[in-house]
């Protein structure tokens, strides 16, 4: 790896680091000012995680077949887990208040 490649690679990494930390600070400040909003908090967490996976873990530089073998499967599992919500709401309504 020549010095130019090394410098270019790390400058992207530094930029991603700054963006991830900025989002973390925004999350906290927003929660203090407006109260925690689950959709916004989750969206920022997914963005942070995606940046970390693509640039820190370099998944973006691997073969697309590796990405296709790992990511859709994981997302599918997380979608399937959403089946629990209806039951948790049912449980809430069964509670004596």
């Amino acid at each position: 790896m020549n010095p130019a490649e090394k410098s270019r690679g790390m400058s992207t990494t530094y930029a991603v680091y700054v963006v991830i930390m900025t989002m973390a600070v925004f999350q906290v400040l927003f929660a203090f000012e407006a109260g925690p909003s689950l959709p916004l908090m989750l969206m920022l967490a997914v963005l942070q995680a995606s940046l970390a996976v693509m640039y820190f873990m370099h998944l973006g530089q691997e073969r697309p077949s590796l990405v296709l073998a790992l990511i859709p499967y994981t997302i599918f599992i997380f979608f399937m887990m959403n089946m629990i919500w209806s039951d948790s709401v049912r449980l809430l309504h069964m509670r004596p208040h």
């Binding site: 790896m1 090394k6 690679g9 790390m10 990494t13 530094y14 680091y17 991830i20 930390m21 973390a24 600070v25 999350q27 906290v28 929660a31 203090f32 109260g35 925690p36 689950l38 908090m41 989750l42 920022l44 967490a45 942070q48 995680a49 970390a52 996976v53 820190f56 873990m57 691997e62 073969r63 077949s65 590796l66 073998a69 790992l70 499967y73 994981t74 599992i77 997380f78 887990m81 959403n82 629990i84 919500w85 039951d87 948790s88 709401v89 449980l91 809430l92 509670r95 208040h97």
Partner: protein, 208 residues
């Protein structure tokens, strides 16, 4: 060509088969471990969501000092992800001393993270939070909080041990940049999990 030659050639062809996804097998195994571990963390975070949603009196005990402490822990963990990348970059350019030092800086970051987390735990325990009781409301708050953060902290401590072992082996010449890359994948994963723990466990349970 004899049957024996055919058998040897076909065996050699099998041995020389292209590596899956053009990455070393050890790296593929680490990716598969990360995916399975991500699903484990996903399952306990969903279980926490289930219990929280089903409880009418879920406590929201975290005040500003706890939230700033969580942000400081985020800063330390994300920065340690950066330092492990600096270690990998140094290893790829044969800077053994630099790679070793950055690995130790990363391990120190992980240790500091664990100390801050234990401080947070002790503060909650002093306030009366236990696994199945707390002074504020739904008794399962303690079980979900300590289980999720405890599993994450176990990953951090395992990562610190792995970082130190690989750093020492790398300095001794037994390990290469490939091994640093694999342990760095694990370390980034610990960081990624924390990105979900902070908003779901701390910010959503913030006193307001």
């Amino acid at each position: 060509m004899s049957h024996a030659n055919v058998a040897v050639e076909s065996h050699a062809a099998g041995v020389m088969e292209e590596r899956p996804f053009a990455i070393p097998s050890s790296k593929l195994v680490m990716w598969l471990f990360i995916i399975s571990d991500a699903v484990t963390f996903g399952a306990i975070l969903f279980a926490y969501g289930y219990v929280r949603n089903a409880s009418a009196d879920w406590p929201t005990p975290f005040e500003a000092p706890s939230i700033w402490n969580a942000l400081l822990m985020t800063f330390i963990l994300v920065t340690s992800s950066l330092t492990v990348l600096l270690s990998l970059r140094a290893a790829q350019t044969d800077d053994r001393r630099g790679a070793f030092n950055w690995m130790l800086v990363t391990a120190a970051g992980g240790t500091l993270f664990a100390i801050l987390h234990l401080r947070e735990w002790m503060s909650l325990i002093r306030e009366g939070v236990r696994l199945f009781q707390n002074p504020w409301g739904a008794p399962l708050f303690g079980a979900t909080f300590f289980s999720i953060t405890g599993l994450h902290m176990a990953h951090v401590l395992a990562g610190v041990i792995a970082l130190v072992v690989v750093a020492l082996s790398y300095r001794a010449g037994r390990h290469t940049a490939k091994h640093i890359e694999i342990v760095s994948l694990y370390w980034h994963f610990v960081d990624v999990v924390w990105m979900f723990v902070v908003p779901l466990l701390y910010l959503m349970n913030m006193k307001h």
